[in-house]
């Protein structure tokens, strides 16, 4: 009986359970990759979508307005009710930004169109209604219908004025002040005229700022508490409940752009990541400038010039292994040799007057790039060498037979053919460097770098400055920020950005390598 069942149940054709388990491994690995990407993309992009505001009335008659964030079951092992988390903003009114509510207690929910979210420079978001508009402290008489267009109009005016004042300060006031401070004038007349000019410019800035502070919003929370918010401190006002899908999409696009182009605010817990993007890019560029020539030369030496004996083979194995040495070890090396060793010496030679505060003797852009260059050197060497090895010997022999010297063969024949391989190596190096954080923590990354390493001041590129980095930004915002609930979406967005950059770089490298393989065929050796 059992035997008969066994025959029935036996997999008729096929090869037993093994192949299915093996196939499952592939599926599971792919599933994990997909899940990670979907998680990052979903959470990272949704963050910018203007969510609607709910006006919640509780069973005891209380009401409040906020974005519903998520529901959570009762804490494990305890009987209780599910709770919902709301982001209610208005830190200035009730001191708390988040509110947990028992779902059972919610009597009704509504989405009135007149609720607004106001992004402010202080106290975080305000969620409530616009009750009125003040001009120089006097209320403007506006009908309901006029109110919203007027608010938007006035906000646009403030934005224009802010740009004007920023431009004035950067282009007129600061250069003048610098000239005066550094004593760059021809005679006393010139100096006086400069001073007068500066005064006039300052007066203009003050006038613009005065104009900016003319208007103020009267905001009213859903509980009826009022706040007067100067329009000067408002970045954005949205009425998400009244927006159409297209409006929301436009607002989403604007927010994504602001995320990419603005600096962080509120101790990195809000705002954009532009300095981090810039720092990452600059560091990676400097690194590739350092790593490309040396990596390529070393590969050419190992593959073309060095005698192909046991020693070269050992060196090759050594170089290959260095790709497997933990990145933190390179960080330690960078700290010990570049920062404390070379940096300390440079400080003693050239920046003696600034000691004991270090100039190059502390982590900075230059040391970070050099450390990462060292870290990615094996990648470039290995990729270039592989490319060189793929070039058929007949090409070299042909060139040599025609009377070319070795240098000429290299320059005219071998190197041009190996360019795609070198590019592959450099791109892989960049991709690896862009994602590496551990060594940077030792040699120069900063939580918040007030000065970007590039500015209008001589020598324009400040190699000794600390810089911000996307990867470190993730660590810092995710693990060391006070309000993790508020920071998480930002971390998701940053992580998504970093992963996208790295994926694009890697895809380029894969494409290039494919191109090389198609051209020269499989590896010869």
């Amino acid at each position: 009986m059992i035997a008969r069942w066994g025959r029935r149940l036996r997999i008729p054709r096929g090869e037993g359970a093994g192949p299915w388990l093996a196939a499952g491994c592939v599926s599971l690995s792919l599933l994990m990759v997909v899940a990670l990407l979907v998680l990052l993309a979903g959470r990272g992009l949704v963050y910018f979508w203007p969510t609607e505001i709910e006006l919640v009335t509780l069973d005891d008659g209380q009401h409040f307005a906020g974005h519903a964030i998520r529901d959570e079951p009762p804490p494990r092992g305890q009987l209780g009710v599910s709770q919902r988390l709301y982001h209610t903003g208005n830190r200035d009114l009730h001191g708390e930004v988040w509110r947990w509510v028992d779902i059972e207690r919610i009597a009704s929910q509504a989405r009135p169109a007149d609720l607004v979210v106001v992004e402010r420079n202080r106290w975080g978001d305000f969620i409530g209604r616009v009750a009125g508009l003040q001009e120089q402290g006097r209320d403007l008489a506006l009908s309901e219908a006029e109110r919203w267009p007027t608010v938007r109009q006035r906000l646009e005016r403030v934005v224009r004025l802010r740009e004007e004042s920023d431009a004035l300060r950067e282009q007129v006031v600061e250069p003048l002040a610098k000239r005066l401070a550094e004593g760059r004038w021809r005679d006393s007349n010139d100096r006086e005229s400069l001073a007068a000019e500066l005064e006039a410019a300052n007066a203009r800035v003050l006038a613009v700022q005065d104009a900016m502070s003319r208007d103020a919003l009267v905001l009213e929370s859903v509980n009826g508490r009022r706040v007067v918010q100067p329009l000067q401190g408002v970045y954005r006002i949205l009425r998400p409940n009244a927006m159409s899908g297209f409006d929301k999409f436009m607002a989403w696009g604007r927010d994504v752009w602001r995320f990419l182009s603005e600096g962080p605010r509120a101790a990195n817990a809000a705002g954009g990541v532009w300095p981090a993007i810039f720092g990452t890019m600059l560091m990676v560029m400097l690194m590739s400038v350092a790593v490309t020539p040396f990596g390529v030369l070393a590969a050419v030496y190992l593959n073309e010039i060095a005698p192909q004996g046991r020693l070269t083979r050992l060196v090759r194995i050594g170089v290959r292994n260095l790709a497997g040495v933990p990145s933190i070890v390179y960080g330690v090396f960078g700290l010990g040799v570049f920062v404390y060793g070379i940096g300390g010496t440079l400080d003693e030679w050239f920046f003696h007057d600034r000691l004991p505060s270090p100039t190059f003797g502390t982590g900075g852009l230059l040391w970070a790039s050099l450390t990462l260059a060292l870290l990615t050197l094996p990648v470039v060497i290995v990729a270039t060498e592989e490319g060189l090895a793929r070039i058929p010997d007949a090409q070299r022999e042909g060139a040599l037979a025609l009377g070319a010297t070795r240098a000429e063969t290299l320059r005219r024949v071998v190197l041009p053919m190996a360019v795609p391989a070198m590019l592959t190596g450099v791109i892989l190096a960049i991709a690896r460097a862009a994602g590496e954080v551990a060594p940077l923590m030792l040699v120069g990354v900063a939580k918040l770098a007030p000065q970007v390493p590039v500015d209008g001041e001589f020598p324009f590129l400040h190699l000794e400055r600390k810089f911000m980095h996307l990867g470190y930004h993730i660590l810092d915002v995710g693990f060391y920020s006070g309000d993790i609930e508020a920071a998480m979406p930002l971390v998701y967005a940053t992580a998504l950005l970093l992963v996208l950059v790295i994926l694009v770089l890697n895809l380029t490298a894969i494409f290039l390598r494919h191109h090389v393989k198609a051209r020269h065929g499989a590896l010869q050796r």
Binding site: S29, I317, I381, G435
Partner: protein, 606 residues
């Protein structure tokens, strides 16, 4: 012979040759330089580490420092018995009523030796109050010297047989706890014990005129003959002043990193304030009275534990995936799969760490039962899937070929995972009385920490899978086709061919793949930094925390003082990581090279 070349052509020829030489020279110089610079990492780390293990010594201060009459900064760190009683050198406070035995004073304690016994007094209420007695030396011996180390929580006892032993304050008892006796420097009675100010070093002088230097944990460091005369005390630079009839001599105690040696790093130590010996890493202490604890064992343990769990997760998945893709997968899919897995490798550690630490860890904590169930559900579900597939009509089977199973099994697995996680609360209710965490604690005695080895295993496994996969795949698909074809021709199924022919042939390659994966797991920093709680524990449990060497370096190196013991120890951990990964990778590379040559032989080439 007629020379056709004109002088200008000759000049050009020479120029070309010179240029060739120059280029070759330049490239060689650069190449050798780069290779040398890269290999210098190991040399640099070794140079930084060496001072840790230089032996300590006591020598005469240079002549320039010797002839100083000014001894106003003299500080005596020990109590000297007088005819009437004893006094503290610094405060000149007398404890005359306690008798003439050796005394030592801590912050709130006073110890007095009485023959074989040690008496403990409290100084909290002004007048010394006897708290208890304990027998401190063996039968037939007598305590001859006492001294307390900086912070006053460790006591050194010297006896008339030359024995020296450290007693430490326990966590709750007022009576000190003995630690193993130090190696003896001589047999003569210890005359005086001299703790070096603000260090955990002390000197012992015995009646035979032998001077010995000890470190609280490392034990005996140096012995030598003492100069004639009497020790006076230490000056501000911690040099020992020694007087005899002719004048004053200064001795320099050169023992910068004396608290570290191979034993203190790797063996359990009895630290002050603890009841028993233990492994412990606690390098940064806020108070000078606290003892820094430099035990590398917990860090090494954490590193290896994390790597082991990561490999436990990664090896089966990576090997399975490689087997499937080299033997069963359709060519088309394989060409698409490889780049995908390569991109998985490029996923930055900081992103994986963030997702593991902030998303996965809290999620799994809430769905622990479901996560455990997955271990069972996934393989069973796969088998059920395979069985169901075999029951399909031939037409459908053709539409869902095994070669593409990697793709079309994904939704099925997703459903299984979702199902087990959804059922998690129910499972917990049915099997574990509603709370798995409580059950684990009460029945198995396991603590659950949110960021634990299991999470790290998952996250780091994810990072290691691509490495192992790619190398295993290379090894498997590199096996000469004739071997597999032969087996197939003899009637073996593909699975039999794989199991009996391909895997044995490729096993060295698989071994090297696993080794390289292990090297990567050992050195990974960001994932461990973010996905663990970074507390240095030494347990095997997958549900508990650990601290790895790499994460420890990233956390502590920026704050370590340049050139200090802590700094050099972090360099030592970096060196260990370097040496470990370098050895593992070299081994793997050598094995792989051998394998390649073997394949070539098997194929009949070269």
């Amino acid at each position: 012979m007629i020379d056709f070349s004109t002088s200008s052509a000759r000049r050009r020829q020479r120029l070309r040759l010179v240029r060739d030489r120059l280029a070759t020279l330049l490239i060689s110089a650069c190449g050798i330089g780069v290779v040398g610079a890269v290999l210098a990492i190991g040399v640099f780390l070794a140079v930084e580490v060496v001072p840790l293990f230089t032996s300590a010594k006591i020598e005469q201060a240079p002549a320039a420092d010797q002839d100083m009459r000014d001894i106003s900064d003299l500080q005596r760190t020990w109590l000297r018995p007088t005819s009437t009683g004893a006094f503290v050198a610094r405060t000149e406070k007398r404890f005359a009523d306690l008798g003439a035995g050796p005394l030592a004073v801590g912050e709130t304690m006073l110890w007095r030796a009485d023959g074989r016994d040690l008496e403990v007094f409290s100084l909290a209420e002004g007048e010394p109050r006897l708290l208890g007695r304990v027998t401190a030396v063996e039968e037939g011996r007598r305590i001859t010297a006492l001294a307390s180390l900086v912070g006053g929580r460790a006591l050194i006892v010297g006896d008339d047989g030359g024995g020296v032993r450290r007693w430490v304050m326990g966590p709750d008892s007022v009576l000190p706890i003995p630690t193993p006796a130090y190696r003896q420097a001589g047999q003569a009675p210890i005359r005086v014990l001299m703790p070096v100010p603000d260090r955990r070093l002390f000197l012992a002088l015995n009646d035979a005129g032998e001077l010995a230097l000890y470190q609280a944990l490392a034990g005996l460091l140096w012995t030598g003959a003492a100069p004639a005369g009497e020790p006076l005390g230490f000056d501000a630079e911690a040099r020992l002043l020694w007087s005899d009839t002719t004048g004053i001599e200064r001795l320099v105690v050169d023992a910068e990193h004396a608290e570290v040696n191979w034993d203190t790093l790797w063996r359990p130590q009895h630290y002050q304030g603890h009841a028993e010996s233990q492994h412990r890493w606690q390098a940064s202490v806020t108070d000078s009275a606290d003892e820094p604890k430099y035990g590398l064992a917990p860090l090494a343990w954490g590193t290896l534990k994390a790597a082991a769990y990561a490999l436990l997760f990664a090896i089966p998945l990576a090997l399975g995936a490689a087997i499937h893709s080299s033997c069963f997968m359709s060519r088309q899919l394989r060409h698409r799969l490889k780049p995908t897995i390569e991109m998985m490798e490029a996923m930055p550690g900081v992103v994986i760490g963030f997702v593991a630490g902030l998303v996965l860890a809290p999620y799994i904590e809430r769905h622990l039962a479901g996560a455990f169930a997955l271990l069972l559900v996934l393989p069973m579900g796969l088998l059920v899937g395979g069985w169901a597939w075999s029951l399909l009509s031939p037409h459908l089977r053709q539409r869902l070929p095994l070669g593409w199973a990697g793709l079309w099994l994904m939704p099925w697995l997703a459903v299984l995972i979702a199902l087990s996680l959804w059922l998690s609360p129910a499972l917990e209710r049915v099997f574990f009385g509603g709370d798995l965490h409580l059950w684990l604690e009460q029945v198995l005695g396991l603590d659950y920490v949110s960021r634990n080895a299991m999470i790290v295993g998952l996250a780091m496994g994810f990072a290691v899978i691509p490495t192992i996969y790619a190398l295993t795949e290379d090894a498997l698909s590199g096996v000469p086709a004739s071997l597999g074809e032969g087996a197939l021709a003899l009637g073996a199924t593909r699975w039999q061919t794989l199991w009996k022919v391909l895997l044995p042939a490729a096993s060295p390659g698989i071994f090297s793949a696993v080794m390289i994966g292990a090297g990567r797991a050992v050195g990974e920093t960001m994932i461990l930094l973010m996905a663990t709680g970074n507390s240095a524990m030494m347990t095997l449990s997958p549900l508990e925390d650990m601290r790895s060497m790499a994460a420890n370096i990233a956390i502590e190196l920026p704050e370590a003082a340049l050139g200090g013991t802590h700094y050099r120890l972090l360099m030592l951990s970096a060196l260990l990581l370097f040496v470990f990964t370098f050895c593992v990778n070299t081994l793997a590379e050598v094995v792989r090279g051998r394998l390649k040559r073997r394949y070539r032989r098997l194929e009949g080439r070269s």
